[in-house]
Chain length 140, copies 6
């Protein structure tokens, strides 16, 4: 059993490399930075933490937008009727995680991305991407 693999829509070229992992990686950073911010009382560290969390959360938003509008098709949106709502909440939550230094906001963001990932891997298109990645990895 495996899944995270790789792939991610970079380029609007149909390069065929898509994966929810990109958004999740950034969201993990957002959460962990918030944790480290809470654990530190060093002014320099805390200032840097907020700055870097901002950048990571912006990356989350970008990756999610790419998945929503480039990977998922009109047909997917019919099949998974909560897809639009899920993306709105996830992108919105990335904004919340920017504003907050509470790791729980990052954790909630990760949960939403996992829900998106579950749908992604149910689609034939997603599995095809996974197949490609796995082939290149030599792991399938």
């Amino acid at each position: 059993m495996r899944h995270v693999t790789i792939a991610h829509a970079h380029c609007d070229l149909y390069c065929g490399v898509y994966d929810p992992a990109q958004a999740k990686i950034e969201a993990l950073s957002v959460m962990k930075i918030a944790q480290k911010y809470q654990d530190s009382d060093d002014e320099v560290f805390r200032a840097r933490a907020l700055q870097l969390k901002e950048e990571r959360a912006e990356e989350v938003k970008h990756h999610l937008m790419v998945l929503w509008a480039d990977f998922f098709t009109a047909e997917h949106r019919q099949e998974f009727s909560n897809l639009d709502d899920l993306f709105w909440r996830a992108i919105h939550q990335a904004g919340e995680a920017k504003k907050s230094a509470d790791p729980a906001d990052g954790q909630e963001l990760i949960g939403l991305i996992d829900e998106i990932g579950d749908i992604f891997w149910q689609t034939e298109k997603g599995q095809g991407h996974g197949g490609l990645s796995a082939q290149l990895d030599g792991t399938r």
Copy 2:
């Protein structure tokens, strides 16, 4: 006769400056660059046109995402039930306009942004932003 209202969500800080004009400005460029690409047979010009269209279309996508997830609220999405679909189609169309050198793709994108703008200006929140802008312009 007047011109230039303004506002646009820049920053996830609730700076209170939002406006569909940002996305539309970029979309206008996308369309006009495609037109100029078609009208030119100069290799240098055409290469630059494609490159710059790519950047402008990416900006459209970004501005639309900000409007959707930062300006519009869960309540707005209930009130205007086509909002999610409209945004998906607009962001998706920005990707189409990247791939194409046909000005019609940019024109279709502009039409979708105008539909979003119509909803924006119907909201009290949008009018408040407009009111602010107008006050600063001295034009209302």
Copy 3:
């Protein structure tokens, strides 16, 4: 009643889309962020405010440079003999607004951009851009 004309020089391609509104939108954010910084005593919020103000003010500088050197011609600079000075002061003031958390610095910046806008709209070239925009808006 309506709003939003548009245009802005994006691309050194003569795409024909120029407008002082771009700089003004960013300057409005600069001013409002400074206000919100003053009104807040939350460490996270204040740190984010300074970071985002920095980015917005940098955008102002960029948009002004584009207007000065790409939209305005040598002839315009002869006709409006204070143009160079106005741009120097505006771009310099954007730097001041970076350094300061006083909304008055953003307000002064907005005033300078409005002076530039007044000249912009006096030029035939500016009106032509406005005309284009209006045509696309269906408002002229």
Copy 4:
């Protein structure tokens, strides 16, 4: 059984999220874009392909630099005595893949990143990151 999982050094903050997958994802895009470039005779598509390949290869270089100088320690470099050479060749190869439209250059790049990945996953530090990721994934 293995999985790419996730993690990647974003931020010089010791956020603790590192993974060779980031570089590999971009390298996959580089290779596939080159393939699609070869398969197309459409001028617009080919121009876009080269532009996007450039960006993706630059991302590869960045991710590799982060792994080399931020994740791997002086001790790792002693233990794995070919590490510096491997990174030089991989980063250099990313430059070669920029210059070329031959998918084989991207494929060679992927091979080098896989060699780096093999070392990464041998380190206790890498396994720790993997452990974290796996825990969050619920897959270990």
Copy 5:
């Protein structure tokens, strides 16, 4: 006799590091890329050349704006009455060099930057920066 040294305004923080060399380095690239474009008949190389020239010329514009509005003071602009005009022509010429694949446009740009450099090194402020740099270089 020496001069190039270093320093450059990066940051609106008065970090005290300014130098016309930054703009000149980019302008040199612009000129040389145009030369290489002319000497090549390889499609991939030529496409990349135009793309990279675009980025380099944009950097020139940025560095010149910083020198003009951040390094040079209102007093300098009175003392060197052609300063504003020189900057307008240089920034404008950077735009011309974007549009063109003729190395002569890059050469003209370099000439204008050299004129700016001559003024820079006449100012006490510029010499002070040079002094710092030289001290760090161990060459004065």
Copy 6:
């Protein structure tokens, strides 16, 4: 006797413009920003200082990577057997200088870049670049 001249690898195009000065300029800023941070007790100034230092140090890392993998060849790396180690330490130190507000970290970074510069100017390739630059400067 002089040396700084200019040149710097921008573009993976073999534009032939390389120089260690680029990295050093940024490192100078990093050191001076840390100094100014220490000398200030103004909250706004200090927050901006940390943010700008972050960006400058990131630029150092980028310029060093370009020198290492694009300018220096496999042959250079054999001839100067400490080259890889020097680059690892310099890039790693740039990360340290990000994390710290101690000017000594920036100073150490500058020292490492100077060591790289010494090697650069010993190579025929580096001298050739210097020769080019000097020719354009009219100083050799």
